[in-house]
């Protein structure tokens, strides 16, 4: 069971403004592979902060975070970048697609910085991914010619194209209407089933929380048991 953990956070503390803001106040969280969980909690409870730390974008003040058994604190910035490149996918609230790249090119992006994917392989993989998220035929559209829901689907494809161990999605439905939002959550779940990446979402939305397998409630930077 132990080696099945993709995320293992212990006593994670994170403060801002020289300690005046306690964003995380000793968080413990274990996530096994292929989980589909959500961080919930009121605004300011530390959801984004925790996701950033798990995603190796930020470092905790104290405590430790293990990603697939490797400790983040002992990593240099460069190693964290490599870890993100290889093992972690991100889905953002504002989609954050590159506007000058087509849907397919956006999905190819993560593969361009990984070894072992030539042009043809990248293209093939990206097209497969786009059809998995239901965007067949829209490969050559630029993001501004796609609806919000479609853009977020591209983002899901982009996050998953490299088959990462973990996908982090900070409020992935907040910029979508509820119908599209739920469709995205269902899509992510379907992708988890097919690809086996662990998903960690954050959301306020009860209907999102209904759809995940486990809800981790954050209150004032702590996990509410």
């Amino acid at each position: 069971m132990e080696n099945n953990l993709v995320v293992q956070a212990k006593d994670v503390v994170k403060t801002y403004d020289e300690g005046r803001v306690q964003a995380l106040n000793g968080v413990n969280l274990d996530v096994v592979s292929a989980s589909f969980i959500a961080l919930a909690g009121p605004s300011g409870s530390g959801k984004t902060t925790l996701l950033n730390i798990i995603g190796a974008l930020d470092i905790p003040d104290s405590g430790s975070v293990g990603i697939e058994g490797r400790n983040l604190e002992s990593m240099k910035e460069k190693e964290r970048t490599t870890l993100r490149r290889e093992r972690i996918g991100f889905i953002f609230q504002q989609f954050n697609l590159v506007p000058v790249l087509t849907a397919r090119e956006n999905v190819e992006l993560p593969l361009e910085i990984l070894p072992g994917f030539d042009r043809a392989a990248r293209k093939k993989t990206a097209l497969e991914m786009l059809s998995l998220v239901g965007l067949e035929g829209l490969e050559n559209r630029f993001p501004n010619k796609l609806s919000g829901g479609q853009q977020q689907r591209v983002a899901v494809a982009r996050a998953l194209v490299k088959s990462p161990a973990i996908i982090l999605a900070d409020e992935p439905t907040a910029n979508l209407d509820s119908e599209n939002g739920m469709a995205i959550v269902d899509l992510m779940k379907k992708m988890r089933d097919e690809l086996g990446s662990a998903f960690i979402l954050s959301s306020h939305d009860p209907r999102v929380l209904e759809r995940v397998e486990r809800v981790v409630q954050l209150v004032d930077g702590r996990i509410d048991q």
């Binding site: 984004t48 490149r85 954050n96 993560p110």
Partner: protein
Amino acid sequence: MTAIRLAYRNLLRNKRRSILTSLALAIAMMMMVFAFGMLDGMEEQSIRNFISYDYAHMKAYLPGYLEEDFPGLDHAFTVPESLLTLIEKESNGATVTARLEMSGVVIHGSEETFVRVVGVDPKRDKEVFETLETLSGGVTLSDDKEVALIGDRLARDLKIDIGEMATLMVRSAPGALNPRMLPIAGILRTGHPKVDQFSVYVPLSLAREMALLPDGATEIAVLTKSKSTSPEVTAYLAKVLPELEWHTWVALAKDFYSMIRFKRYGQAVMLGILALMAAVGIANTMVMSVHERTREIGALRALGFTPRLISRIFMLEGTMLGLAAGITGVILGCILTAWSAIDGWSMERYGDMDIGVPIRDAIYPTIQPGSIAFSLVIAVLLALFASWGSARMAGRGQVVRALREGKL
């Protein structure tokens, strides 16, 4: 490759901004190509005139001749025909001639002017210089006629025409004034101001007679088969005939060369300042480009793009901007240069003023591959330099902050 795609697509996305930004640099580059084209054209034509009418490929004098402000017959030396044949032989088929130059006065009616009187061997001189064949009217010198050729501007100043008599006054080597009435056989129009404005040419035999220096000459001029071999031939002749001072045309034109170098520096500095101002524009555009794409940068960093790769994307963008500006500028510069080479830059506007350039009519700018390459390199370097700061900023930003606040 992604970086290239991102770079040019972003430039195209902000088409108007990209065009306006690169325009300033393009104009600077255009002016650079044109300015260097003018200087190159001027240099080329000047060298042609120097060689054809004044210096040949090399000249020999008595030591010290060139240091004199008004070198006189005290620096003349004896040049028997055998010496010229010897030089011909030693220089491997070059053509050789001797000239006897002295200062004098020409008088016609109430006009009189100081001139250089040049005694030339009509047969030999033609093999070395083009002077005697560049007539605008009349006939050229021949050995057995005591006549003179004068430059057209000099003729104008003296109000003299072909067939009229001029009094030529020189001081012989021993020092006596020696006036001579000579008919003007022809008028020279070479385009070299020194010839056209200040010179009278007479047969060498006559000049020697007037100077009382049989076999005398003040210089020997040599034209080698190829311009490029002249330094070696000069060095060799200097060894064979060490009692004379040998100079290549490059050495003889050293004042001209330092002037042109000075002009080149001047232009380069001016255009450099202009280009630098253009670079500030590029820097500004790149800062804007980075700022409006902060979230994109944050997202790319989250995807695992290294700071270095992010920086490279922006460096590339700036470089492309510079390259586009450079190419546009070079093309415009070539067009401008070609267009102004049709009629040339008229030197008439300077009148009879000596501006140190042996060109009288017009300068025809030329396009040199070197100045094109130089302009392109400068444009790209400036663009690199201009995007350096913002590219670094883009790479160094904090990912979390970039994603959260859209600020680096």
